[in-house]
Symmetry: C2
Subunit: 625 residues, 2 copies
């Protein structure tokens, strides 16, 4: 009698950030789901830094939350510090970030998954896939157990043939102290998949008791912390733990350079490409030779632990070099190591082999999410997991896929970039990757995505109602500003004080509020506004929404118009079996790329590198547009 009797709707392989979101989404939508992972004690382990969010990544966490994933809630519940980054810039740039308690984060995820209906767990290594005529039918474990499923989501992270490097030493492993995973890559290559190697690194972990924090710059959390989740289930932190900052120095750089000849990155032992935007300290010294110092953030790993994550000091130099150099950093004179930094090389699958639902083009019902697709970062992984889990469910239940456009979500940008452009180096999200970032703000992810997710069957009705109430309230408030007039004598003192030209005659409040020098706090001081807010019991998030809608109305309108143009192109679908060989005037490169990627729309085709505007014209003409 096999351990597994039934056919699962969805099997998720791996319980990192991608796997956890995938499993939760599929199960919450009603799929009979199994999460198989190598070690049930390491569910949602943060492999690298103990933090969630940050620039562009914080927006993604808000989007995951708006869609109905758990990353936001888990992050809120296990945060030790909250910061809204870029608060001095426009709201499109505001990016929430938390420091997390590493142990609590993993525990909260695990318990939350255990309380998710339809979700089973199994601890073992998956060593192969069951495929019948290009259709997935399940997985095979290292014990030889076959588990049947209608769809499978692979989220193996950095584990596939993982190889750890420290200086000139190397050994197999999926993460420090954990085994690598073998078998899957080889089988997928047999099926015709392309595979490549990437690498990523992590800094040493050190003993906080050996550091002199008095020599560093304290980095407290926000005075008024906010949170990720739109739900009422979590609340902002009432106390926080500070981080610290210090710097490397020319001396530190010289000491590090002593190890370059024994560095796997410089002596050619590691050939794969690392994350450009999360470079190792040796990379930074090498690439920015003129900079004589780099910031190091000294981040606690939890509420009570003395373990410290040295953010900015990722390295695979020999451990003695790491140590000697770190000892020369101010505040680290007596540092003790818990473990050295290291780099890891692993297999990934170029994501151009996927469709917008993250399903592979070669094997029906097989989805990939997370680091396996060549991305880096927890948020990137989690959001792909969510999308893959939803689409695996939708596919099994023969419903419409759930896809997000570039003007709807960072997640849309992420997936479109991956499958359209592929990636040669670990892909990380940035605000600059999004064309419509004034639309894709962290404050409105619920307005953007909760209705779509509700329609697809994941976001709850309660969430939808909450979002609608919030939107209505802020729209009403904006309308109030649009309709309510204000007299020069009421406002000119303020305007003068702020260096803004005085009003000559009565005007709408909206106009005054639009001026860059005037803030919500000023407006709130007007008696009638204060009364209106109080009478309508308007909450902070609604006020903030209204403020953004007023102050950025112009930008938002403009981006919406641009996005509409895009969406016209987006609406021109390319037939699935479109025969590019017939289009003689296409450039050779374009033809090759189009054949490979097989874009779904003209808009997607236009984003493929090597496809020029004239190639697009050729296609439009051919399609009779």
């Amino acid at each position: 009698m096999s351990l597994f009797q039934d056919v699962y709707d969805v099997i998720v392989v791996g319980a990192g950030h991608a796997g956890c979101e995938a499993a939760a989404a599929a199960a919450n939508m009603g799929s009979k789901t199994l999460l198989v992972t190598m070690n049930l004690q390491t569910i949602a382990q943060m492999s690298c830094n103990p933090a969630m969010g940050g620039i562009a990544k914080g927006q993604i966490v808000r989007e995951i939350d708006a869609i109905g994933g758990y990353s936001g809630i888990v992050s809120d519940k296990t945060a030790i510090q909250f910061k809204m980054l870029n608060k001095s810039k426009g709201p499109a740039m505001w990016s929430p970030r938390v420091q997390s308690d590493r142990m609590r984060f993993a525990e909260e995820w695990r318990l939350r998954l255990e309380h998710t209906p339809n979700l089973d767990f199994y601890q073992e290594m998956v060593s192969g896939l069951l495929v019948d005529k290009n259709r997935i039918t399940g997985v095979r474990t290292s014990l030889g157990i076959e588990i049947k499923a209608k769809s499978v989501v692979l989220t193996n992270g950095t584990f596939l043939n993982g190889l750890i490097h420290i200086g000139d030493k190397q050994f197999g492993g999926g993460r420090a102290g954990e085994r690598a995973s073998t078998g899957i890559t080889e089988q997928l290559v047999d099926f015709g998949f392309d595979t490549g190697r990437m690498k990523t690194g992590t800094p040493p972990r050190v003993d906080g008791r050996s550091l002199d924090f008095s020599k560093m710059i304290i980095q407290p959390g926000d005075e008024i912390p906010e949170k990720f989740s739109y739900s009422k289930e979590t609340s902002p932190l009432t106390h926080q733990r500070p981080c610290h900052m210090t710097y490397t120095s020319p001396e530190v750089h010289e000491l590090l350079k002593e190890g370059f000849d024994r560095s796997p990155m410089f002596n050619g032992r590691i050939k794969s490409i690392g994350p450009r935007y999360c470079p190792s300290i040796e990379d930074k010294i090498h690439r920015f030779a003129d900079k004589d110092r780099h910031q190091l953030f000294v981040e606690p790993e939890g509420w009570d632990t003395c373990e410290i994550y040295v953010n900015g000091f990722s390295t695979s130099l020999p451990e003695d070099v790491q140590f000697k150099a770190l000892r020369s950093v101010v505040g680290f004179e007596n540092v003790k190591f818990f473990r050295p930094g290291y780099a890891i090389e692993y297999d990934y699958f170029p994501p151009t082999q996927l469709t917008h639902t993250l399903e592979t083009k070669l094997v029906d019902g097989l989805f990939f999410a997370g680091q396996i697709n060549g991305t880096t970062g927890y948020e990137e992984a989690a959001s792909q997991g969510l999308m893959a889990g939803m689409n695996a469910h939708l596919k099994v239940y023969e419903k419409d896929p759930f896809m997000l456009q570039r003007d709807e979500a960072y997640i849309g940008v992420l997936i479109d970039d991956l499958i359209t452009k592929g990636t040669e180096e670990p892909y990380r999200m940035f605000t600059s990757r999004a064309e419509y970032r004034t639309l894709l703000r962290q404050d409105n992810a619920d307005e953007r995505l909760t209705p779509l997710s509700y329609k697809a069957g994941l976001a709850s009705e309660e969430r939808l109602m909450m979002m609608e109430e919030k939107r209505e309230a802020s729209d009403k408030l904006v309308k109030y500003f649009e309709e309510t007039s204000i007299l020069p004598e009421e406002v000119n003192d303020l305007l003068e004080e702020r260096g803004s030209s005085p009003m000559k005659q009565s005007d709408k409040m909206f106009k005054v509020f639009s001026r860059p020098q005037i803030h919500l706090d000023d407006i709130k001081k007007f008696k009638k506004v204060a009364a209106y807010i109080e009478d309508n019991a308007i909450e902070k998030d609604v006020l903030e929404q209204a403020e953004i809608k007023v102050k950025y109305a112009g930008y938002i309108e403009k981006e919406k118009a641009n996005a509409d143009k895009l969406s016209r192109l987006e609406n021109i679908k390319i037939p699935a079996n479109f025969d590019y060989s017939k289009l003689k005037s296409l450039s050779y490169e374009a033809k090759e790329k189009l054949e490979k990627i097989r874009p779904v729309t003209i808009s997607q085709a236009s984003r493929i590198s090597g496809v020029s505007p004239s190639d697009i014209s050729v296609m439009l003409v051919y399609m009779g547009r």
Copy 2:
């Protein structure tokens, strides 16, 4: 610049129960200590059942606490259920036991160690020892780092060349999902150490959501829970989580037998010996063929998790057989597995190669503690760790060793058994192994051991004072009972009601209280006693102590007298270089064993199997006694 600059006083290898206690003890006594372990995320991982204490083991936890170890405090803080086992028997048999929250247990240990002064941490595998002319000088890690130390405590548990078996499949590993440790055994064999293989097993973990608890027998915790630690730092549980019980059946047994030919235990693939008293379910069926059912305890793994430990169903049968059979158990009809049970084989070192301080005879300054010595069980491991850690410190600081006699502690019995008799099968503590179990009660471990540990430099003065206050108070109360008279008319009604013969004339309260039919609750009902208790604010533990001292006075006296006899023999020391070959009248077997074990006292010599009373006489005569 090596990662490690200084010479440590004590390096502890491994952070299981043995390693954690060893590190804490050495550091708390003032040794500069380093704890090296393969994965800092798995400190104090409970490899098997989520429980501490039990018969004889609960006494050991109390002893560890009395000496100043952390196991009692950690167990109290992370318990989900408390039970005093054997409460219906005499107080010598009372044995505290808790169910633990597995994740919290590990976290609490880790944080507690982090807050221990003098203790450093390092994550890596130790692959070899540094030895200079039979003296330990440090360890070497898998990265080749040399860390110097004056003494080393090895606590590798089940990791040395660990080999996991499930049915006819086998693979290397130290624990499910963790790597094995290699290198150390081979090196120690080169130094001349004997080594052997042992095996142990663990049951499947299952999904509590798939069980029907209504068909099982509920097993709640005690109505008035107590706790392990004598300190005020912990308090008894205010709410608890219940366990459940169910049974195997002849049908289940038949299903299991179907897998016997594929069982590594029966087909000869596993040759090493498993724990007789923690047998696998297949062992039980095989050895007790006439029993048609066995108890299974269904134990939750924590407060919130749905993971369940199936206590009593340890097995290495093929996973499909495990599953099929467990599905036939009442309440388990729809069981889902988190992971199958398995057996593990590992290297151990016959403990006759150690002295009473747990130092090896072959390498000066090298200590062994825990499963590496052929024991099984967390408590056995933890107590050895504590003793090895203390003695490693004492040796480095050239102080007297800390050793416990057989009449002082279960820990004394454990170590004396190990080093004197050795063990061919995994050694587990039982009350029956102790000759003086009326002395070695769970309630008086503080009286027995705190003063000794205080003298040695571990137990705090505060603990000593607490213990002394408690002892004085109970002695005073006993004296009160001895001195206070009671009249027949005061007590005869009660005596009659209890079926005890009436008193003829006034007598001491002590006498009445001594009668088996009369309990503390009866005595407390006498007005003067109640007043005395209230006036002196006498607490529960003091009352209980006094009761035991009164009611078991006879037994205790008798055992003390016996123990004194032993300690006379114990005082006859055998010179370190005693030449047994000169004693022609010694039996051949005795001579061989005595040469190997080299007992320190005549008493120890008498406990070596194969050494007869007449051999002892020969020795006494030769030594001029």
